[in-house]
Structure formats: C-alpha cells, structure tokens
Amino acid sequence: MPIDVTKFEVLKFTSRLLFIGIGSIIPLCFSPYSVSFIMSLYMYAILAITWNMLAGFTGYVSFGHVVFWGLGAYATAILIIKVGLPWNIAWLLSGVVGCGFAFTVGIPTLRLSGVYFAISMLALSEAVKVAVAYLRGVTGGGGGIYLPPLISLNTAYYLMWAVFATVYLTTCFLSRTSFGKFLLAVREDEIAAQSLGINTAVIRIQIFVLSSFFASLAGGLYVLNVCFIDPKTAFDISLTIKAILMTVLGGLGTLEGPIIGTLLLGGFSELMWARFPFIHKVLLGAAIMAIVALLPRGVVPSLKGLRWWGISSRSTLKGDK
C-alpha cells in the first residue's frame, strides 16, 4: 500500500503541470470554434472550482454563486464604458469588486446555518439581478451593456487559462497548508474547530472572498470576449446549477473533482445542447438527482483506479456530505 511519498508527490505535481500545460498550445492546434469552446470549459471549471472552495472545503453550499461572475462582468463593462479605464485594469479591478461584495455580504450571511445560507445566497443573487436592472443609469438596465471588442479570442483564451491555472493551483497549495486543514475542520465540525482555537468565522470569510475573486475575474473575461452583458445573462441561475452539477459529479471536496465534472458535463452538454436545447436541461436536472442520490461523493472518489492521480488517500481535502 504505501507508495513512496516523495515519488507520489512528484508524480502528482508533474501531472498537474502537464495537464495545465496542455492548455497553452490549444490555440495553435485548433480552430477558433474549438478554442472558444475550450475557453468556456475553463470558465466553467473556474466556477466549479470556486464553488467547491466554499461548498466542498467548508461545507457552505451557495445557490447564488453566479452573482460574483455577473458582478465581475458588469464591473468590467462599467469600468470600461463609464469610467474609461483600460480593459486590463478594469478587468483586474472587477476581481476586487467581487471581493468587496463577498466580504460585505459574507460577514452577515456566513453566520447562518447551512440551509439558510444557501437560500440567502439565492435571494441575494436574485436581488442583485433586480437591482442591476433597476439602476438603469449605471448599468444600462434591462438592455444591458455593449462593449467594443477590445481583446482577441486568443488573448481571452490565455487569460482564462491563466485564471484557471491559478485558481486550481491555489486550491492545491491551500490543501497542504494549515489554512486548508482548518477549512476541512470547519466543514467537518465547526463547533469542534472553535474549541481548538480556530476562528471559524474569519476562515469562512477568507475562503469566500478568495473564491469570489476568481469567479469575478472569469465573469470579466466573459464580457470582454462576448462584448455584451445583461442582467438576465449575468445572474442566470443556470451557471450556478452547472457549477454545482460539475462539482458534485466530479467529487465535492476534492481538488480535481470540479475539473473532471466540467470535462464530463462540458462534453455531454456540447453534444446535447445544439440538438436538444430544452431536453438537455431536463437531463441536467435528472443528472443532479441521480448523482446526488447514487454517487453523492462524485466520480473521483468512487474511481479507485484514479486515486493515485492527485487525490491523496491521506485525505487532504476529500470528503462527502
């Protein structure tokens, strides 16, 4: 059973780098359509990973995750159009906006118990949608905001890839730190964690803000690429659903789970979406139910054969809830 730890770690690390590295040559080998598709996969992966940060690592399920993505998109667009900032500054600032929002809403809401947190995040997401539609002057109201094309597809691709790599490696890194272990403690038993001296409230806020940062950046890149955003798209619950589904499918609380879930779902979606626009959502719903009921731990922990690849049996960030 005991694989040599150092070899194992090196193997893990290299395979992760390889996996990420492949992304760098995509635009050189594939058509713009494929590049766009893979970029969207990265985006979904970012959403899934960031949702997992909260739900998988700390046990706080949020049904309003899309709000950060949407705020990132809007912040980027508004900062470019209304404030006149260059796109790169606007984009990075949108991440900060997401953080600020997360911090502000996190402090009161993270105190709530699991179910109430989930619902209040949903309520929040819907409330922001309404607010954005209402503040016509700033946000263009229901009609949305149009951006001129400011970056090429390849730039957008590489940036999305970079954000993906960063957030993924960050989670890997965190899992090895004491912060990462404290996250697990919070998830497993928050009361016990407190009794050990862990300031669980601060930990929750920190991971919440961190997850929102990357989610917002992803939204910012979306709007830079697609050049349009409106409240309906920005705060569409579908994105939250997909992030949840991908994470749960792949393995809630694991490091690679969200990515695998994204690959599986992305592939499936691509096949189904074009042909059956509404059926595919029906299947999405059925899939969530099936996975939650039958494979609650997701694909990754259930596949013994894959255990060596990045999933430490020493349970750094594994778990089921």
Binding site: S178, K181, F182, L184, I191, S195, G197, T200
Partner: protein, 249 residues
C-alpha cells in the same frame, strides 16, 4: 499537596434559556493541577456549565451567561468567544463526540496542533506526542468514521491534548464505554493529570469518578449543592435526595 493557584474562577454564574434556568448562581474555583469531578442528575446543568466556561455553544445558542463572571488564568473570559478561550489554553471534549469523521486520525490530531502552533514541523511533533500519550499511533491513517466509539473518544482527547491545554474539560467521556474501556480511560486520565494538566471531568458514571478524583462537585437543577472530598460528598443528605430514584452508587 496541591498548588493553590486558582486557574479557573467561576463567580455566581447564571444562565437562563427562555424559561429554564440551566445554571443558577454557581460559584466554583479550580486550582492548578487539580482533578475535579462534577456529577449531578440529568438536567443539572453540567454541560451548560462547560459551554459557558469554554465559550463553545451549539449553533444558534447564545454564548453569553445571563449573569456572573468567569476568570481563566487571570483573564475575564465571561463573554469571550470559544476560539479565543481555547487559545488561552483551555481544551474540551464533548458529550456527543465531535471528531472530524471524514478525515484520518492523524489529520484530526494535527489540526489541533496546527491550531495552536500554526506551523509544520513543531505541530507535527506535538501531534505525534499527543497520539502516543493516548495510544493511537497504530491507527494513524484510519478514517475516523470507521473507528469504535471508545477509539473516537481517544481521537477527540488526543486532538484536545495537541492544543497543549492548561485546563482540560471532559464532558461525559466515559459514556457509552464498556467496563474495560472505562478502566483504560481512567488510567489515561490519571496519566494526563500526572503530566500537570488540570482536569475537570463531568460524568454520569459516579462510581468511576470516585476512584479517580480527590474532589467532587455536585450540581442539581442548576445549583451547586456539594463540593468536597468524594467520601464526604456521597454521604451528604442533599446529594442523596437529589439522586433519589437514580441511585448514586
């Protein structure tokens, strides 16, 4: 000869939940290196007392006592949140064991050590030590969920020890254990006491405590009704009538 420095001073502690007075003007002083037992019939307020002292309450419950004061190591901790009190050197176990089920034993104990030290190597050493004291080295990589109750209690204890506590509160740690497990745990607790940790232990199993502690405190319906050497306490009329129907020995 006990060291007479007071480690924990509870003054006139009252805690009211809605209409129920869980703790009613309880005053208690625990000295360094003491091993104190707390007993009492169901509903006496023993766990509430622990919750008030440790500052760790179930989610939704309010932490602050209705009245009174608690001083630990010279610091007023009456209103302090649990995690701050833990950092001052107080550790506890729970009536219903609260271990990190999905993690392995090692991670459970390591988290305790990390919470205290925050860094890699020293924390690992502390965790190793705690596991050794409790006798869990062999189970290092087992997932806690797969352990027996007695083993889980040891994990919880090791985790509490990894915090290097000055004061250790044990809440019904013997509950659910068979006699051989009880005997082992009592030996362990005595060993911990010998290492200089002040221990306060709440128990239902009065018989077990009689052999362990030199001082027994009795609570009944939120009040402290006795406090002294076990032999005297069990003979007190008040204590006997409080337990009438329960059987004290």
């Amino acid at each position: 000869m006990t060291n007479r420095n007071p480690l924990l001073i509870v003054k006139d502690l009252t805690k009211r939940f809605g209409g129920v007075i869980a703790n009613n003007r309880i005053s208690l002083t625990v000295y360094e290196r003491e091993l104190v037992g707390i007993i009492g019939p169901n509903g006496a307020g023993k766990t509430t007392l622990f919750n008030m002292i440790s500052g760790v309450v179930p989610k939704g419950s309010s932490r602050a006592p209705t009245n009174g004061q608690i001083i630990f190591r010279g610091v007023d901790i009456t209103k302090k949140p649990g995690y701050k009190i833990a950092k001052l050197g107080l550790a506890r176990t729970f009536q219903v064991v609260r271990v990190f089920e999905n993690l392995v034993v090692w991670d459970n104990v390591l988290i305790g050590a990390l919470a205290r030290l925050g860094k890699g190597r020293a924390a690992e050493q502390m965790a190793e030590e705690a596991m050794a004291v409790v006798g869990l080295e062999k189970a290092k990589h087992k997932v806690v969920r797969e352990l027996t109750l007695a083993e889980k209690k040891r994990v919880e204890l090791a985790r509490a020890l990894a915090v290097r506590p000055t004061l250790l509160l044990l809440d019904e740690i013997l509950a659910g254990m068979i006699p051989s497990e009880v005997k082992d745990m009592l030996t362990l607790i005595e060993a911990l006491h010998q290492r200089g940790i002040t221990i306060v232990i709440v128990e239902h199993n009065v018989e077990a405590l009689l052999s362990l502690v030199k001082r027994l405190v009795v609570l009944d319906r939120g009040e402290k009704i006795a406090d002294g050497p076990p032999s005297k306490v069990v003979q007190s009329q008040r204590v006997i009538s409080a337990y009438l129907g329960e059987g004290i020995c």
